[in-house]
Symmetry: C2
Subunit: 727 residues, 2 copies
C-alpha cells in the first residue's frame, strides 16, 4: 500500500521476512477474519454497527465483496462485477493501453459501454477468497524439532505444494499455503480466480495521481486515487480467459457507495490484503535493516532512477514504458528515507532491545519457562547473523538478475531444468500451475523494456558487484564478464553492447519458443544471455540451496521464539495479531487528525479548494481546467459537506495498513463504501516495523470526491447508475 | 523584521517606495502613536487593559522603553540600560567580536560582569524617540502645485535638511524628517542617540538562529532569536562615544518581563519601527514589482550567493566575513520567492485594479471630486512608467556600485566633491553630521570584505551590465572597462585582477586619509578604483539628477492621488494608517493559529520538545547538548505552561509587522514584555503589499523560552536578577 502495491515492493525487497506477532494497542492490528469475535468489544467501542461475527463470513456481506488483484486490494461495487480500486493499482493497465498518440494516462479513460472496455495488462487477475483452512498439522505435523536445514525447508515446501495441488484440482481456483507467526501456523487460502479483467474507467493522471511523487506519503493530500475494473466470466458464469463473448461476473456481494457525510471521529475500517509487516523482528534484524539494508538500497534505487531518466526523454515512448518502474523506485526510495529518519529520531531500536530484555527476564523467572523457551532468541540471532554474511553480494546478484534480458534468460533456463522434474518437485514459479502466468510475463516484457536502459542498469550493477571482495563473488560470473583478473569499465561496456546486439530475447516469439526447449538446447545456444544463464546456473543454484538450508534452520527456530513472545504477551493480557502476509485482514479505527510536528496539526479532511491552491499548471500539480472551473463555481452538488463548506477530497484515519492494502475500500460502521485507502502519511511509514498510535495515519480518497469527479468532471453517469449510492 | 532588519533590506532594495495609506480591517494597521485614541474602541475590544491615551506619550510608559537600533527595534528591560532585541539584530556585533579561535557566533557570549561587555560593531547606535513634530508646512508650505521636477525635489530636500540641522544643534540628538502618505505630510523625529553600545549576552547561534535559513519565515518555528545589548553614557549621564569610564544609561522607562502564561487568543501588541510597506501602490507599480523587479532581483541574489559560496570555504575566516551578507541575501531571495508565489496564486493584482476602477467611478460620480482629484492616478502612472524605462540599467549600476572597493572609491570621491559645498547644499550622507558614520563605515570594511569575492561579484555584474542595450549603458564606464567595442570575459578578468592587485583602498589608513583629500587629489590618483570613480562621476551624477527630477515630479503628484484615495476611504468610513516608513508605530492583535494550507493548521505555540524533534546534530538543527538534556529531563522550572505541558518556544500572532519590527518587544494587555517579535510566516510576506487577515501571522520568541534559556542553559543569573520578572 501507501503507493506501493506489493508487487512492486516485492520486486525490490531484499531477502528477509517470514513473520511474528505483536501486542495490540489503540487501533494497531491487522486482524484475521476469524479473530474478530475476540475483539468484538473494541470494535463496538470504536463504533462498528454490524455484528462482528458477520465479518467472519468470507462469502457473506461485506467480506465477499472484497477481492485481491494480486498486489492491491479492490472491491465489487455493482451487481455487474464493477470493481473499484486505486488509480495506482490500475496504472499498469492504463499504461499498457496508452500510446504516444493516445496517452490514456494523460487523458484518462472512460468506456462509454461495456464493449468499449479494454483488456487489462496481460496476467491481470481478480482473486476472490472463498475459504481459509488451517493446515498446520499437514505442513509441519510430521516434522520433529530436530529437523532443520534443507530437509525442513524441502519438507515444508513439498507439503505446501501437495496441498495447493490438491486444492487446485478445481481449475477455477488459485490456492496458497501461508505461514503465520514465523511458521507457527499454516493456512490454506482458496481463491476463485477471475481471468478476464478489463479497464472501465480511470480519471486523468492529473486527478488520479495529482501531487505525484512530491505529495506521495504526504499530508495535506488531494489525490483522486481511484479507478475501475470489471471482471468478466464465460457465458456459463465460470472463470474464463478473455473472450469477446464473455459476460460480466455477478458477485454474490457488492458494496453500496456512500454519498453521506463522514465526519471527524467516525468509525472506519479497511478489509484488504496487507502485504508484509515486520513487527516481531529481533533487535538484531531491525538494526541490520535500518543501518545497512535500507541505506544501501536507497542509494541503489536513486541511482537506478538516474539511469532511467538519463536514458529516456520525458514523454517519449521509452519513458512511458518505464513510468511505472520509476514510480515504484521513487516510492520505495522515499519510503526507506522516511523509515531511516523515523528510526534514527525515534526509540524503535531501544524499545526492541528493552522488549528482549523483558522477555528474557520473564523467561528466567520460571524454571518451566526456561526449559520450554530456552535461548531461542539467541539461536535465532545466530542464524540471522549468518544470513547477513553474504547480504551485499546477494543484494547485488538480485539487482543483476532482475534486469530484463538477464532475468528472462535466467527464468527460461530454470524452467527448462525444472521441467525435467515431477511437478511437485519443481521450485515455486515453475510448476505447471505457473506456466500460463510465466507465459504472460514473457509477453508483457516489450511494454516495459528498453534495450539501452536495461543495458545501462545491468552495467551499473555489475560494476558495483565487481567492487565486492573476490571471495564473495561468483566465479562463473566473474569469468563471463572477465572480472576475475580485474575490472575494466570499457571492456564491460563493449561486452554488454555485443550481448544486447546479439540477443534474440527481445523478441516475443523467440522468448515463447524457449519455453518449450530442453536444457540441452540452451547449452547449445549462442544467445549471449542464455550462455550467461547456463554458465552461472550451477553456482546460482548452489547459492539458492544454501539460502534454503538457512531458511529451513530459521523455520525451525523462529516459531519457538514466537511461541515465547506470544506467551509473554498473553501473560500480560494483550491480544495478538500476526504480521501481514498478503492474506485477508481487517483493520478498524476512526477518522482522526494528528500532529506531524510540534506546532502543527494535520486536519482530518482536505477539500476541493486545496486542489486549486496547489495547482501550478505543471505536472504533478496540473489539475484539469474543467475541474478548476467547477471548483471556482463551487459546483458541489449533493457532495457538499456542510462542516467543511466544500467537497472533501482525502481524509486521515488511524487504520493500521501497509502495501497491499492499496485499493481497499474504506468502510463506515455499516460497511458502506466511504472511500478508497491509498496511502499512509510520511511519519507512519516505519509502521511496517513499529506502530505509533500518535503518528500512524492512513489516507483515503473520500467517496464523495470520487462521485463528484465521476458526475461533474468525467460524466461517468452510466457507472453512477450502475452502482447503489446511499445518500 | 522577518529576518531582515531593514539595513540589510535597504542595501538590496531597488529604487522605489515613497509611501501611501490604506483602509484597515481586522488587525491590519501600523498606527502612529497619536492615532491610538482614534482606534481606542478596537484596542479595548482586542483586549488592551491600558488606557490607549497612555500609549501616545513618547517618553512615558511603555513608549519610552522602546528604542531603535537603526534597522531593528529594541527595548530597555532594566533600569541599567539593558536592551533586549533579536539575536539576528545583534548578529553583526557577535560576528564582529568573533575570531576563528573564539567564534562567538558558535559559542554564544555572556559577559559575567559589566566590564566584560564588548563593544558592538562600530557605528552601533541606540535611538530613543523623544519628540515627533509635524512639519508639513515648513517643508512644502511654500511650494505651489505647479512646482515639480528637480526644483521641487531640491526644495523639499533643502527644507528638510534645514529643519534637521536646527534640531541637531543639540549634539545629543539625531533628527529626521519623514514623509507620510507619499508626501502629503511631513514629520520631524527627534531621537536621543546613545553612541556607546555594548554586547552583553547572546545565546549560541544553535539557539539564536536554530533552524537557520531553512526555517526562516517558516512555521513551526523554534528559534531563540534574542540577545542583549547595553547602552552606556558619559559619567554626566549624557550620550558619549565609547570610553572605559562610561556608565550604564538609566532609561526613564523599562519593561517588566513576563514569566506568566500567555494563551491562545490573548491580546498582544508590538511597538516598533517597521521599515517599509507598499500598501498604497498603484496597480502599474505592483505589476512591475512582481513581474519584473522581484523575479529579476531574485535571480541576481541567488547568483550572488553562489559566488560567495564558491569563493569561500565554510567555516573559514573569509566565510565568516560574509556570513551576514549571505544571510541577508538568502533571506531576501526567499522573501521575494514567497511574494511572487503569493502574487501569482492570489488576487492582489485584480483587487488593486478593481480598487482603482472603484476609485475612478467614485471620483466621476461628483463634479466636485472630479475637479479636485482629477486624473492624478493617470499622471502618477505616467511618471511610474517613465521611471521604469531605465530600471534594468539602474538595478545593475546599483549592484556594481555596491561592491566594496568600488563603493568605497565612489563614496570617497563623492565626499571630496560634496565637501566643496556648504553643509546644507550637500547630498544626504555627505553632510557634516554624516562624517563620523562615514568614517566608521570606512573602518568596518575589513571585517566584511574579501578581495577575491568582491572581484568575482563585480565581474559578474559587469558582465550582466555589458549585455544590456548600448544606448542604456554609461559610456564612461563602457570605456573604462573596454566594453564599447564588444565585451570579452577574459579581458575583463585581466583588468579586474590588475585593479584589485593595485588598489590601496583595501587598507584602512589609506581609506581614512582619502576622506581628507580634494577632488584634485583624486583626479591625480593612480589607484584604479579611484580612477574609475573619477572617470564615471559626471555621468553617474547626471543619472542621479534625472532620478531626482523624476522623484520631484512624483512628489508633486502622489500626494494628490493619496488625497483622493484617503477621501474615498473616508467616505466609506474606514480608518487610515500610513505606510511604514521606519517611524515608531504600534500594531495590536492576538495570539492566533492559522491555516497555511488546506488540511493543515498551524498551532499558536511551539514547545521545547519540538527542538529535540528537529535536532539532527547538523547546522542549522544542532541544538546544544545541554539544552537537549534539559528538555529530556523535562526541566521546565517555573516556565512550564500547563496547557502545553512544556515551555513555549515561539508563538503566532495577528500583528501587522514588517522589516524593522525585528527585535520589537511583544507586549501583553498590560504592556509587559511577553516576547520578541522576530519574523512572519511565509504566507504573510506579501503583506508588505497586501495584508490578508487569514494568512498574516507574526512570530515571536516567547519570553518564557528566553528566560528558560537564560536560567538553565546559559546561567545568565545576573541578568535575570537585573530585570524585573513578573510571575
Amino acid at each position: 500500500m501507501p503507493r506501493i502495491h506489493i508487487l512492486i515492493a516485492a520486486i525490490f525487497l531484499t531477502l528477509c521476512c517470514y513473520s511474528i506477532p505483536n501486542a495490540a494497542f489503540a487501533n494497531e492490528g491487522m486482524w484475521q477474519p476469524q479473530q474478530l469475535p475476540e475483539i468484538a468489544t473494541q470494535l463496538k467501542a470504536a463504533g462498528l454497527e454490524l455484528d462482528p461475527e458477520s465479518l467472519t463470513d468470507l462469502t457473506g456481506f461485506p467480506m465477499g465483496a472484497i477481492v485481491s488483484l494480486g498486489g492491491c486490494t479492490a472491491s465489487f461495487v455493482s451487481p455487474q462485477g464493477l470493481i473499484a480500486t486505486n488509480h495506482h493499482c490500475i496504472y499498469g493497465s492504463i499504461q499498457y493501453n496508452s500510446t504516444e498518440d493516445n496517452n490514456l494516462l494523460e487523458n484518462g479513460f472512460l468506456a462509454q459501454e461495456f464493449s468499449k472496455e479494454l483488456q487489462a495488462t496481460p496476467g491481470s487477475r481478480v482473486y476472490v477468497t472463498e475459504e481459509i483452512i488451517e493446515v498446520t498439522t499437514a505442513i509441519i505435523g510430521g516434522l520433529n524439532a530436530g529437523i532443520s536445514g534443507i530437509e525442513r525447508y524441502k519438507t515444508i515446501d513439498r507439503n505446501s505444494k501437495a496441498i495447493v495441488a490438491e486444492c487446485e484440482q478445481d481449475k477455477r481456483y488459485r490456492c496458497r499455503v501461508v505461514n503465520f507467526h514465523g511458521g507457527m501456523e499454516y493456512y490454506l487460502f482458496k481463491q476463485l480466480m477471475l481471468r478476464d479483467v478489463r479497464l472501465v474507467y480511470a480519471p486523468a493522471t492529473s486527478i488520479g495521481k495529482f501531487g505525484g511523487d512530491i505529495d506521495n506519503w504526504m499530508w495535506p493530500r488531494h489525490t483522486g486515487d481511484f479507478g475501475f475494473y470489471r471482471a468478466y466470466v464465460g457465458k456459463d458464469g465460470e472463470p474464463a480467459d478473455y473472450s469477446e463473448d464473455n459476460i460480466p461476473y455477478k458477485p454474490k456481494n457488492f458494496l453500496k457507495v456512500s454519498a453521506k457525510s463522514l465526519k471527524d471521529g467516525d468509525y472506519i475500517m479497511v478489509l484488504g490484503y496487507p502485504g508484509r509487516t515486520n513487527r516481531y523482528r529481533t533487535s538484531t534484524e531491525v538494526k541490520n535493516q535500518f543501518t545497512w539494508s535500507y541505506p544501501k538500497s536507497k542509494v541503489y534505487f536513486e541511482e537506478y532512477i538516474n539511469i532511467i531518466k538519463s536514458n529516456s526523454v520525458a514523454g517519449s515512448d521509452v519513458r512511458i514504458k518505464y513510468e511505472s518502474t520509476l514510480a515504484g523506485l521513487a516510492n520505495v526510495a522515499k519510503n526507506y528515507g522516511s523509515m531511516m529518519t523515523s528510526y534514527h529520531k525515534g526509540t524503535t531500536q531501544q524499545r526492541k532491545e528493552q522488549l528482549e530484555k523483558d522477555l528474557s527476564s520473564w523467561i528466567k523467572a520460571k524454571k518451566s519457562r526456561e526449559k520450554r523457551y530456552g535461548n531461542s532468541l539467541k539461536q535465532l540471532d545466530n542464524l540471522v547473523l549468518q544470513s547477513q554474511k553474504y547480504q551485499e553480494r546477494n543484494m547485488l546478484l538480485g539487482y543483476i538478475g532482475r534486469t530484463t534480458m538477464l532475468s528472462t534468460a535466467y527464468s527460461l533456463y530454470k524452467l527448462a531444468n525444472e521441467s525435467q522434474k515431477t511437478d511437485l518437485e519443481r521450485d515455486s514459479g515453475y510448476q505447471l500451475r505457473d506456466i500460463p502466468r510465466f507465459g504472460q510475463r514473457m509477453k508483457a516484457i516489450d511494454r516495459r523494456f528498453d534495450s539501452n536502459i536495461d543495458k545501462a542498469v545491468l552495467q551499473y550493477f555489475i560494476q558495483q558487484y565487481a567492487s565486492i571482495p573476490q571471495q564473495q563473488r561468483v566465479s562463473s560470473m566473474d569469468e563471463f564478464f572477465a572480472i576475475s583478473k580485474g575490472f575494466e569499465e570499457s571492456s564491460l561496456q563493449t561486452l554488454l553492447d555485443e550481448m544486447f546486439a546479439n540477443t534474440k530475447l527481445g523478441d516475443e516469439e523467440t522468448r515463447l519458443s524457449w519455453m518449450e526447449k530442453s536444457p540441452a538446447d540452451f547449452e547449445k545456444s549462442n544467445d549471449p544471455f542464455i550462455q550467461l544463464a547456463v554458465a552461472t546456473y550451477k553456482e546460482r543454484e548452489a547459492i539458492a540451496d544454501q539460502r534454503e538450508a538457512l531458511t529451513g534452520d530459521i523455520q525451525a527456530i523462529r516459531p519457538k521464539y514466537m511461541e515465547a513472545l506470544i506467551a509473554f504477551y498473553k501473560d500480560r493480557g494483550l491480544p495478538i495479531y500476526a504480521d501481514a502476509n498478503s492474506t485477508l485482514r481487517i483493520t478498524y479505527g476512526n477518522v482522526k487528525a494528528y500532529s506531524p510536528a510540534d506546532g502543527m496539526r494535520a486536519l482530518p479532511f482536505t477539500t476541493l479548494e486545496g486542489i486549486s491552491a496547489k495547482h501550478t499548471g505543471e505536472d504533478p500539480f496540473n489539475s484539469p481546467v474543467k475541474q478548476l472551473e467547477l471548483i471556482k463555481q463551487q459546483q458541489y452538488g449533493k457532495y457538499l459537506d456542510t462542516n467543511l463548506a466544500s467537497v472533501p477530497v482525502n481524509y486521515l484515519g488511524t487504520l493500521d495498513v501497509t502495501g497491499g492494502n492499496s485499493g481497499s475500500p474504506t468502510l463506515n460502521s455499516q460497511a458502506e463504501f466511504v472511500g478508497l485507502l491509498f496511502d499512509g502519511v510520511y511519519e507512519s511509514i516505519i509502521g511496517d516495523w513499529d506502530y505509533d498510535s500518535e503518528l500512524n495515519r492512513s489516507i483515503s480518497v473520500d467517496s464523495r470526491y470520487m462521485l463528484w469527479v465521476m458526475e461533474y468532471v468525467d460524466g461517468a453517469h452510466k457507472l453512477l447508475d450502475e452502482m447503489v449510492i446511499v445518500e
